[in-house]
Subunit: 321 residues, 2 copies
């Protein structure tokens, strides 16, 4: 954990400086919404993943435009997501669409998507654009599936996995895979990076969904049970309702479908989900994917970056916020 | 005009078949919104422009994935635009965000942007991605400027030109320039195509803005004076208010700013704009840009496609709908 923090402390200023410089080059009229999302204190996980993978494979090229493109793509999806979730806060700050209007925010997202594509195209490696475009298509598709399945109590475990892989894991996969592509080490390295990123992303989202039930409001910056409130069927809740007897489950699901939970209901159900071990079950599932990601690291060269990528797996499955 | 129609009749089925096939390959959950916008009866001007430019420069490669990417990018901007304009109808049909929800429509637009990038990346020519990404950035920036200047009576003629160049002309420019890039004929051909497309796009939008005041509702599928109703300061109105005496202008602009026009006001002002020759002034401005586009054609090879691109200029400035 200290190693990760130390590495982050070295990388974050470079990543942030690059992002700031690109934002400053945009037309002044789109800068406010763009800077609002870029400076909202993101963890820069995706660019860090690109930096680490590229370094692990001993890349000589300038990594930062590529790495930062991943953050620009992620930021674009945040701008668009907050509109469709009608979110009022992100990381404790007013969301961009409330501060600058829906129209400008949709378009600022489009500018970021296009800027990322342009930065990546400048490398002259069309495979980078292919991998990133495919990831963006899959991310948006996963998000449409998530919206379409709000309050759908028939959602299966497989469908849930498809949604979280879509909305989160493909961008992690692309972040790592692009780092390997830039290294020029060939298909085996790219496949290993792909597998590491995809499994890390799934583990990350599973833990996120577990923490949504566990964290008190002051840790996550939002109330626990937020997914339940929004009608999202995530693994802790899917696992919990399976544990109930038929009559109780029917009644609960009917009220879930009808969006009829009170704040007290949400708090009580969240407590029962945790007490019944269903958040822990979700963490256990995350551990399986972290293990798969760890296997992929065996095809990586042995060096400090590969060690850090293993340490990140431990951090992701044990994190408490 | 008959030549253009004849060429279109040959090309449209191929363009539409390619677009249909790509839409069918998408995840079923995003297909409804995507097909809704792709099948809404667009004129396919941008892909046609790519096809014509590529053929004019005797391109050997398969033109259709590139040409259709331009339509996909244009369709993505339409999906996003209709949300920010809160438009209810497009080409006489209910808009996608009303039919499928804002969230799914924003994301369907993102899928189309990414699909276009992927199709273009498959050519292995990063310059195509560079030109298209730059065009999308400028298009979105132009649209943000348009929103920011709604009911801004201080908008200058130059700022108006910047907005229409942004929101419309850069995508025309990219459509033509990409056709020339694909031909491999080099920088002079690319610059000529760039100049043709940019000037054609400006002329096209100027005529669109003139027609907004001229067309009765049954021709455009919307009421005349729509821009005035939406608070958009376009050239016919800018030219009209300049012709008024100070007192009349102040009163009119105060009511424009306050969004206080009745339907009768709109019809009366639209009639005065036309009677005062201000729609015609706008068409005359369009003719200037069409002439600039025609000059760019002198660097094109002499062939049937180049002749058609000249005919398109005549069509664009004389069109009545």
């Amino acid at each position: 954990m200290n190693d990760i923090l130390h590495y982050l402390q070295g990388e974050l200023p470079r990543i942030n400086a690059f992002l700031d410089a690109e934002a400053d080059k945009l037309d002044p009229i789109v800068q406010p919404a763009v800077k609002h999302v870029l400076r909202a204190g993101g963890k820069r996980l995706r660019p860090l993943l690109t930096v680490l993978t590229a370094r692990a494979f001993e890349t000589q090229a300038d990594i930062y435009p590529l790495a930062c493109s991943l953050e620009l793509l992620h930021s674009a999806t945040l701008l668009h997501d907050d509109i469709l979730d009608a979110a009022e806060l992100r990381r404790g700050q007013e969301t961009a669409h409330l501060a600058f209007g829906k129209g400008s925010t949709i378009l600022a997202g489009d500018v970021l998507l296009a800027l990322a594509n342009r930065l990546v195209a400048e490398y002259g490696l069309p495979r980078l654009t292919l991998v990133l475009s495919e990831a963006i298509m899959r991310t948006a598709t996963g998000e449409v599936k998530e919206i379409a399945n709000v309050r759908n109590t028939a959602l299966t475990h497989d469908e849930y996995m498809e949604i979280i892989t879509g909305k989160t894991a493909y961008l992690f996969q692309a972040a790592a895979e692009c780092g390997a592509i830039l290294s020029g080490r060939g298909p085996e390295a790219e496949q290993a990076a792909h597998d590491y990123g995809l499994n890390l992303g799934i583990a990350f989202q599973l833990v996120d969904d577990a923490l949504d039930y566990v964290s008190p409001s002051d840790v996550m910056g939002k109330h626990s049970g937020g997914d339940l409130r929004e009608g999202k069927m995530t693994l802790p809740f899917i696992s919990y309702i399976k544990s109930l007897d038929e009559a109780l489950r029917s009644e609960l699901l009917a009220r879930f479908t009808a969006d009829a939970f009170t704040d007290e209901d949400i708090q009580r159900i969240a407590a029962e989900v945790v007490a019944g071990g269903h958040a822990q079950t979700t963490r256990d599932a995350a551990r399986h994917f972290a293990d798969e990601a760890r296997k992929a690291l065996s095809a990586f060269p042995e060096n400090a970056e590969t060690d850090l990528m293993a340490a990140i797996l431990d951090f992701v499955i044990s994190r408490e916020k």
